[in-house]
C-alpha cells in the first residue's frame, strides 16, 4: 500500500501499457531513480512466482495479464495474493484483461475472482474513475493511471463524496470497513474438492452396531448418561427443595396460636342494661362499648367500636357530659356514636351484635357497620329492645 503511493506517473503509464499490450510490453518501466517499486515491477515480469511476495498490488494485477497465455498455478496464486494485498478493485482495464483470461476457460481461483471483478467493473461502468476511490485505497492509482492520487480532479472527488465514500488517505479506524471487500474476495478462492478416499480408508458399515462399542466407550457413554441425568436431577431437586422451603417459610410466618382476645365474645344478658346506659366493662380488653340507647327514635342495644374515626385514638365515655370524647384532638360523639364536634369526619363504627342461643348478647368484631353508609339499619348491627 505504502509502495503504491510512491508510484510515479511514468510507472503507472508503463503499467497501463503492459496491460494494454499484453505480454509484448517487456520491461519498459523507466528506471526512475531509486524507486523500488519499478524494480519490483520488472522483477515481477521476469519471475512471476515472486510477485506475490514482493510486488505491490497494482504491479501484481498488471503482471497477470502479461503472462496469461502461460498461466501456471503459481501465477494465479500470486495474482490472487496481489489482489488481496492491493485491497481495492483493479482498474477497469485490468478487469477487462482478466475477463479475457476468464474467456480462455480458466477455472482456477484467480480466474474466478477475475470474473467477479469483471462484473464489478461493468457495474461501475463509465463512472469507474469516480467509483474506484470508494472501493479501496489502492484504486486511485490503478483506476486513473495517468494521474497521481493527489491529483484527483474535482468531478471525481465530488462524485466520490456523493457516493458516500471518503477519498484520500485512510485512517486506522477506517481500515476495517475499507479492507472488507478484499477479505471477501480472498474468501472466494475456491478450495478444490477432496480426492476420493482410498478403499482402505472407507469405514465399512458393520451389521452389528454394538460390536463397534468397546467396553471402554460403553462405560464412557453410560457414565455420561448417568452424570448428565444426575446433574439435571440434582439441580431439579435443589430447585424443588428451594420452592418447598420458600412455601414452608411463608407458612412459618403465620402463627397457629394467637394470644390476643377472641373476636367473638359474650357480654351478658340484655336485661342487665338500663335504657341510656353505656357499658364500659369490655372497653379495656375488647375495645367495645355496649350501649342501650335510642337511635333515630328506636331503642336498641348496639356495640360501638372504641376507635375514633379521626385518627384512631381511643375516646372516653364522659358520663357527666353524656358524650364520647377523644383525648387526642377533641372529637365528640353522642351516646349513639354520631359525631357532633371536633375533627372526626363520621360517626363511630359498630360491631355486629346478636342474641346468642343462651340468651346472652354476643359481639362479633369481624363485622363492622358504618353509619354514613346506611349500614346501621342492618339488623346485625343492633338488637332491638
Amino acid at each position: 500500500m505504502a509502495d503504491k503511493k510512491k508510484l510515479s506517473v511514468e510507472e503507472m503509464l508503463a503499467a497501463c501499457r503492459k496491460q494494454d499490450g499484453g505480454g509484448n510490453a517487456g520491461p519498459t518501466a523507466p528506471p526512475s531513480g531509486d524507486d523500488a517499486s519499478s524494480k519490483k515491477t520488472a522483477a515481477a515480469e521476469s519471475k512471476p512466482a515472486k510477485v506475490a511476495k514482493e510486488a505491490p498490488a497494482s504491479s501484481g494485477a498488471a503482471a497477470k495479464p502479461a503472462d496469461r497465455s502461460k498461466m501456471s498455478v503459481a501465477d494465479m496464486m500470486a495474482a490472487a495474493r496481489g489482489e488481496k494485498a492491493g485491497g481495492g478493485k483493479p482498474a477497469a482495464a485490468a478487469a477487462s484483461a482478466q475477463s479475457e483470461s476468464t474467456a480462455q476457460g480458466g477455472t482456477d481461483a484467480g480466474a474466478k475472482s477475475g470474473a467477479k471483478e469483471k462484473a464489478a467493473a461493468a457495474k461501475g461502468g463509465d463512472k469507474a474513475a469516480a467509483a474506484k476511490p470508494a472501493k479501496g485505497p489502492a484504486a486511485p492509482a490503478s483506476a486513473t493511471p495517468t494521474k497521481s492520487p493527489a491529483a484527483l480532479d474535482t468531478a471525481s472527488i465530488l462524485s466520490a463524496v456523493r457516493s458516500g465514500a471518503k477519498p484520500g488517505p485512510v485512517s486506522k479506524s477506517e481500515v476495517p470497513t475499507r479492507a472488507k471487500p478484499a477479505e471477501e474476495k480472498s474468501k472466494k478462492i475456491a478450495v478444490p474438492p477432496m480426492p476420493d478416499k482410498p478403499a482402505y480408508a472407507v469405514v465399512r458399515p458393520t451389521g452389528n452396531v454394538v460390536a463397534t462399542e468397546t467396553r471402554r466407550s460403553f462405560f464412557a457413554s453410560v457414565n455420561a448418561k448417568i452424570v448428565g441425568s444426575s446433574l439435571a436431577l440434582g439441580f431439579a431437586s435443589l430447585a424443588v427443595t428451594h420452592v418447598l422451603w420458600a412455601l414452608g417459610l411463608a407458612r412459618f410466618m403465620f402463627p397457629n396460636i394467637l394470644t390476643e382476645p377472641p373476636t367473638r365474645f359474650k357480654v351478658g344478658f340484655p336485661d342487665v342494661l338500663g335504657l341510656g346506659q353505656v357499658d364500659e366493662r369490655f372497653k379495656a380488653q375488647f375495645g367495645v362499648w355496649i350501649v342501650k340507647a335510642e337511635y333515630e327514635g328506636q331503642p336498641q342495644i348496639f356495640a360501638i367500636k372504641s376507635v375514633c374515626t379521626h385518627l384512631g385514638c381511643t375516646p372516653n365515655w364522659l358520663e357527666a357530659e353524656q358524650k364520647f370524647k377523644c383525648p387526642c384532638h377533641g372529637s365528640g360523639f353522642y351516646k349513639d356514636g354520631v359525631n357532633f364536634e371536633g375533627p372526626a369526619p363520621r360517626p363511630l363504627e359498630r360491631y355486629a351484635i346478636r342474641v346468642s342461643d343462651d340468651g346472652q348478647l354476643e359481639v362479633d368484631k369481624s363485622r363492622v357497620f358504618h353509619e354514613e353508609l346506611g349500614q346501621w339499619k342492618d339488623g346485625s348491627s343492633f338488637v332491638p329492645v
Partner: protein, 258 residues
C-alpha cells in the same frame, strides 16, 4: 428480533447491577470477580492444588455455610421465642409442636453441633498442613478467636430452652468463673483485693456475677445470654469472619505452600 434474555441483559436495570458482560473470556471473568461484592471475596485465580478437596476438606467453607444456616434459622426462631421465665420454655415447646415448619429449631440445634465439629476439623486441617506458619500466623489467631466465639455461641444458646438441662449446664459452666484467678471470688488472688479488710471480689462482684447478671442463673441471665447469643457474639463473629477471609487472600491465598 431480540430474544427475551437479550432484552433483559440490555436493559438499564440489568446493566446497573451487573456492570460487565457475561464472563466468557478471561478479562471478563476477572472483572466480574472484582466488581461483584460477593464474588470479590474469592481471588480471581487460585492454585489448583490449593482448592483440592482432599487438601482443604472444605471445612472452613462448611463452617461458614453452617454459620449462615444458624443465622437464618436463628432469626426465624426469634420471631416466636420470648426470653422470659414465663414464656421461654413454652415457646420452645410451641416451636416444635404448634408452629408450622416445626423442624426449624432442630435445624438450628443440629447446625450448631455440626458447626462446632467442622470448626475443629478446620483447625485440625490448618494445623496438619502447616497453614498457621508465617505469614499466616495472625490469621491463625483470628481463627482461634472465632473458635472461641463458636463455643460461646453454643454455650449461650444452651440456656435459651430454659429447661433443667439448660439451667444446670449454665450453672456448672459458669461456676468455672468462680475459680478465675483474681477475678473469681473463689480463685487464687481474690483475697488480695481487699480494702480496709473488706473483700472487693465477692460472689456479687466477680466475673461470674458479671456473666450471669445475678448470683444464680435466673431471668437476668436468660435475658443476658439471649442478647449475647443473638446480637453481640454473632456481630463479633461476622466481623472476624470478614477479616479471616480477607487475610486468607492477603496472606497468599487459600492454603498450600507459598
Amino acid at each position: 428480533m431480540p430474544s427475551l434474555s437479550e432484552i433483559i441483559r440490555e436493559s438499564q436495570i440489568w446493566k446497573s447491577i451487573f456492570r460487565h458482560p457475561m464472563p466468557v473470556d478471561r478479562r471478563n471473568r476477572i472483572v466480574v470477580m472484582l466488581t461483584n461484592f460477593f464474588l470479590h471475596l474469592h481471588p480471581v485465580s487460585a492454585k489448583k492444588q490449593g482448592i483440592a478437596l482432599s487438601y482443604t476438606w472444605c471445612m472452613g467453607g462448611v463452617t461458614f455455610f453452617l454459620f449462615l444456616i444458624e443465622t437464618i434459622t436463628g432469626v426465624l426462631l426469634m420471631f416466636y421465642y420470648r426470653p422470659t421465665l414465663e414464656w421461654a420454655y413454652s415457646d420452645i415447646l410451641a416451636l416444635r409442636d404448634v408452629t408450622s415448619l416445626g423442624l426449624m429449631r432442630e435445624l438450628h440445634r443440629w447446625g450448631a453441633h455440626a458447626m462446632v465439629i467442622t470448626v475443629w476439623l478446620h483447625m485440625y486441617r490448618v494445623f496438619l498442613t502447616g497453614s498457621y506458619k508465617p505469614p499466616r500466623e495472625f490469621n491463625w489467631v483470628v481463627g482461634v478467636i472465632l473458635l472461641l466465639l463458636t463455643l460461646l455461641l453454643s454455650f449461650t444458646g444452651y440456656l435459651l430452652p430454659w429447661d433443667q438441662l439448660a439451667i444446670w449446664a449454665i450453672t456448672v459452666g459458669s461456676n468455672m468463673a468462680r475459680a478465675h484467678p483474681v477475678l473469681g471470688h473463689e480463685g487464687p488472688g481474690a483475697a488480695l483485693l481487699t480494702v480496709d479488710g473488706i473483700d472487693m471480689i465477692t460472689n456479687a462482684s466477680d466475673a461470674r456475677f458479671g456473666l450471669l447478671g445475678a448470683r444464680f442463673v435466673g431471668e437476668e441471665t436468660l435475658n443476658r445470654f439471649y442478647v449475647l447469643h443473638c446480637v453481640a457474639i454473632p456481630l463479633a463473629a461476622s466481623l472476624l469472619i470478614a477479616i479471616h477471609f480477607w487475610r486468607v487472600r492477603k496472606d497468599g491465598g487459600i492454603s498450600g505452600p507459598l
